[in-house]
Subunit: 344 residues, 2 copies
């Protein structure tokens, strides 16, 4: 059996067409998603396999993407480790009791996902069943540095007061936290793979705020450790850092199969530099979906031209925005499927 | 008379010591600033020359920086053009009636700053008087693209829904707005220079969210037009884009004397590429000021080593954070003054 387009593209094998999916594709721009969201809050959706599987499949049914990513959050993993997580109305995630001391770190446990995150395994199995082989199923979580940032800061912020205090004042404390989180990320992604994930993506949301030297010091070693620990025969690993264009040299050393580029990064330059060793994912500006069908086709063509036919997974450079008309999301997928055909 | 350190460094002339100032140096981390802010709201401070000059001088008196930047906002210029501006408590700036149509653009006027922004001229003259030649006085405003983004979106946002709609759907409307704003920026900066500004900095806050091709299309031409229109014999122009490391090639073509780097940008690489043609400003991570005196000295040394002795203005890579201890700001300035000495 021939592998899915996305899996082949991830490993830089020939494909007859560039595969396409969208970060945050199970999201508010879809009326069908909003209908489910009206009945259940975000965390309930994540933790109820029936609901999570339903919204995971919506982009396949409604927009015809080439991959399903299971519905969850990059932070899901932290709660069972011992960090209470809340999502207030209209707010981002909050940890009311953030990690602020060595004792706080030592209170966190590396848990068995089969025990405390069984809803994730069940969601993945349901998704695989309903996808019925049409497209691959993607797993994901936050990367260690991003998870540590949320755990320490307690909320989405821009100043990184607490984690940077540790970095400059007691780096060993920060490394203690990162090591524990990296262990949990490894176990958690392996659990996702065992339960049906056919590719996994690490989102290092906050790492883009790091200078290259700092990324090498506190983020890269733990992402590398995670990737080395994955049981991943045939399961590609995708690494994404929003605002990470300045970190590609470092990202390319960590063992990931695919580097996922944000929209500010020059795809043609990245292909010249990393195209022989890595698949590349991305990188249409999410705001391009505010355009017309004609402008969307033009922008899609630009990305396809820059990326070339081999080793490219088409995606947005960041998550799809909630106020995008669903017709424009469909126009994007149609455009890639039409313009991204390659002669054998 | 020999020029100030900062002016010489901007023009890549020899200096006996690297000059240093901090973006947002007249700000909340200073108890003296908070004392003034307790008596007056932000806009009142900007518009009252006595108060604006008082807080502008505080970093010179309290922290001993090598330049004074007059207290104002990057958006100050938009209000007299016809855009009502408010700062809610704890909020960012808001334009309750944003620009959403050609008619809205045509209602904006390019005004004479001597008439409608006389408080800025008065503030600059007061600052010059009180500085009494100790250090140079800097002027500034937002760059056209950033001002247009605020004018169209109406508030600080991350999605850029309206401006990107114009970009993809009716680019001529966006160019019409940008041209008008660029004319006003030029007139406004010339007014600042006439009233005592000895160097000027353009802040292109939102341009960092643009891909290089988009920056070339909608931001670069208007920044270039502004710089070409400045009456600036001996007045260096500094161009700063937060998150603009991927735009340096473009920024280097616009006529600015100094490229100001954010903390994520590799200073040594930038120096190799642009050091022969441009001064470089930056680029300590603002979070480094959460560290200890020893860690601050270490980080200062790293930046100095990367930047070299010629053509470097030491600064943070972004504005100083409000929760930084003032002792750490002093430690930073002391460290640069001690470690940044150069043999003649």
């Amino acid at each position: 059996m021939v592998d899915h387009l996305l899996i082949r593209a991830a490993f830089r094998q020939p494909v007859e067409r560039t595969p396409v999916w969208m970060m945050r594709q199970a999201g508010r721009y879809l009326p069908e998603y909003r209908a489910v969201r009206d009945r259940a809050d975000f965390l309930t959706m994540c933790k109820t396999p029936e609901l999570a599987a339903e919204v995971s499949l919506q982009p396949l049914e409604q927009v015809d993407v080439d991959a399903v990513i299971f519905f969850s959050d990059i932070l899901t993993m932290l709660e069972p480790m011992g960090l209470e997580l809340t999502f207030g109305a209209g707010e981002g995630p909050r940890f009311p009791h953030p990690v602020r001391s060595v004792a706080d770190i030592d209170r966190l446990s590396v848990i068995d996902p089969a025990d405390r995150l069984a809803f994730v395994g069940e969601t993945l199995r349901l998704c695989r069943q309903r996808i019925a082989g049409r497209v691959p199923l993607l797993g994901f979580t936050g990367a260690p540095y991003t998870l540590a940032t949320y755990a320490v800061e307690g909320c989405t912020g821009k100043n990184f007061h607490h984690i940077k205090r540790w970095y400059y004042r007691e780096p060993e404390t920060l490394h203690r936290l990162l090591a524990k989180i990296a262990d949990q990320v490894t176990v958690y992604l392996n659990y996702q793979i065992e339960n049906g994930a056919q590719a996994v993506q690490l989102f290092d949301t906050w790492a883009g705020a790091l200078a290259p030297a700092d990324y090498r010091e506190i983020a890269a070693p733990y992402t590398r450790r995670v990737i080395e620990g994955l049981k991943r025969a045939g399961v590609p690993v995708i690494l994404y850092i929003n605002g990470g264009g300045h970190l590609l040299d470092e990202m390319a050393t960590l063992g990931a199969d695919v580097l996922s580029l944000d929209w500010r990064t020059d795809m043609a330059a990245a292909r010249r530099k990393y195209g022989a060793t890595h698949g590349l994912q991305g990188n249409l500006d999410p705001c391009a979906l505010y355009g017309t069908e004609a402008s969307i086709r033009r922008e899609v063509q630009r990305v396809l031209d820059a990326a070339g036919p081999v080793g490219h997974i088409f995606n947005l450079g960041h998550g799809i925005l909630p106020d995008v008309p669903v017709a424009n999301a469909r126009a994007l997928i149609r455009a890639v499927k039409e313009l991204g055909q390659h002669r054998p």
